[in-house]
């Protein structure tokens, strides 16, 4: 009978036999397919801080800042035009988002030092089937992916220990709520949650989340529920599926190992507003931590409270 160490020796020797080089044609095929293989972006912010946003968006946001600065500057000049006619102080109006054209000579990007988006009303979300969702940013320091439903305080990535951020999930009606957010890939339900009630029930039942009781709420005239979830303080993301603590994922993505809302760190607190917008459940998820400055949390609440839907 083979001793254990003999078996190990034989197996190791046997495994040494075999190819050790990837054929060029395989590598070539992979590289040829890259242009037609879109990367799957997480619809949460860690990998997409403003500093890594695409150039068009950077230019667009920079253009907004420059435009506002020009308005302020013009108003200042007009207001200090001694001897000239009085000019009513104009309130700088942040430009509602659009898809801006990149300029040949891009102005500098906004940074944490410049305060990010100027206070004002923005289109935060503009995707089918929900359409447009507008919010008012009440204070400086917010960065984001406008129309993509992401806002982040101080370009922090909403990371521990004191980050804050907000994400809108409204693009689908095929949400899967895993029963265990850590072992999420193996605890996805067979059927998606397609209504507000189903989403709330699924999230309330998630293991290890200590969900608050859902309470009635109205956001932008649409009824639903609000509730709070918290990632356990001792959660070890490294031991979770794909290293992610996943609250919710679209069925089409989850079946291939992707998650939409995965968390930034243990202890993260999430307040959810889940409302029905013409038959589509829309999730607004604001996340922060115990050490997040209370005023940032207040700003998150104010942003959600300002929500309107439609043009």
């Amino acid at each position: 009978m083979s001793a254990d160490r003999d078996t190990t020796r034989i197996v190791r020797s046997w495994l040494e036999d075999g190819v050790t080089r990837l054929p060029d044609h395989v590598l070539d095929a992979v590289l040829d397919e890259l242009p037609s293989t879109p990367q799957r972006r997480a619809t949460w912010w860690p990998a997409r801080r403003l500093s890594t946003m695409n150039t068009t968006l950077k230019f667009g946001l920079a253009a907004v800042v420059v435009a506002v600065a020009l308005l302020i500057g013009l108003n200042y000049l007009a207001g200090t035009n001694v001897g000239g006619p009085d000019v009513e102080a104009a309130t700088p109006t942040p430009v509602a988002t659009s898809t801006p054209e990149p300029t040949a000579t891009p102005p500098p990007s906004p940074s944490a030092e410049t305060g990010g988006l100027p206070e004002g009303t923005y289109v935060l979300w503009n995707k089918d089937p929900v359409g447009t969702m507008n919010v008012t940013i009440p204070a400086p320091g917010w960065f984001g992916e406008l129309q993509g439903g992401i806002l982040i305080k101080n370009d922090s990535g909403a990371d521990p220990p004191d980050g804050a951020g907000l994400i809108v999930l409204g693009e689908a009606i095929d949400w899967l709520v895993p029963t265990d957010p850590c072992n999420w890939e193996s605890t996805l339900p067979e059927t998606p949650a397609t209504t507000v009630d189903q989403l709330v029930a699924g999230l309330s039942a998630q293991e290890s989340r200590e969900a608050s009781d859902p309470t009635d709420v109205t956001v932008g005239g649409h009824a639903g529920f609000t509730m709070t979830l918290q990632v356990p303080d001792d959660a070890d993301f490294g031991g979770c599926d794909h290293g992610q603590f996943c609250t919710i994922a679209r069925e089409s993505v989850a079946r291939e190992g992707g998650c939409q809302r995965f968390h930034q760190g243990p202890g993260q607190i999430d307040k959810l507003w889940i409302v029905d917008v013409d038959g589509v459940p829309v999730i607004i998820d604001a996340g922060w931590y115990d050490e997040t400055p209370p005023e940032h949390v207040d700003e998150l609440e104010a942003i959600v409270a300002s929500t309107t839907f439609g043009d």
């Binding site: 197996v11 495994l15 395989v26 890259l34 990367q39 990998a47």
Partner: protein, 182 residues
């Protein structure tokens, strides 16, 4: 692994990803071949794994974990390719020969044949643990981390797999049953 390359590739830099693929491709392919025991399936698995790595790279939160994460995607591709395997390559058989084989050579060939059979009876889960541990020489904790399983599960899979392989080798210790060529 150069985390700067990973970060650039996460942002869609194809050139950076090409560098990553060149650096990691040989190793991934070698592992795929040893798990699947078929050259063509291994090529397909490696190709699919590299494309999956490109596609999902933005979702990798920690670039420093690229290597472990890439093996997890590779093993997943091996699952998919393994399902395509309808029948495995013909058994190596002992044939009558004009030139008698030396006893040691014969024993080695039989060992490898029996190992091949025993290994193919294992699930991809078990094969992956054996290959990562005994071929890449990774400690079980690292294997578990790469595969996203608890260390105890990795240990259990390795134990089960090695028991199966030992049984396959032991079967060879019984009086040889000379197989006829088909």
């Amino acid at each position: 692994m150069d985390t700067d390359l990973v970060t650039r590739a996460q942002r869609g830099d194809e050139e950076a990803f090409a560098s990553l693929a060149v650096a990691a491709g040989d190793r991934l392919h070698a592992v795929a071949h040893r798990i699947l025991r078929d050259l063509h399936l291994a090529e397909d698995a490696t190709q699919q794994a590299l494309l999956a790595i490109w596609r999902d790279l933005p979702q990798l939160r920690d670039p420093a974990r690229f290597e472990a994460w890439s093996y997890r995607l590779l093993v997943r591709s091996c699952y998919a390719e393994g399902r395509r395997e309808r029948s495995w390559t013909p058994h190596l058989r002992l044939l009558d020969s004009d030139e008698p084989m030396q006893a040691d050579e014969s024993s080695t060939v039989i060992d490898r044949d029996q190992l091949e059979r025993g290994f193919r009876r294992l699930s991809i889960d078990h094969r992956a643990v054996v290959v990562l541990h005994h071929y890449l020489d990774w400690p079980l904790e690292r294997v578990a981390d790469a595969l996203g399983i608890p260390p105890g599960t990795a240990r259990s899979r390795l134990h089960h797999a090695m028991r199966g392989l030992r049984a396959a080798l032991d079967a060879d210790a019984r009086p040889p049953e000379r197989e006829a060529a088909q």
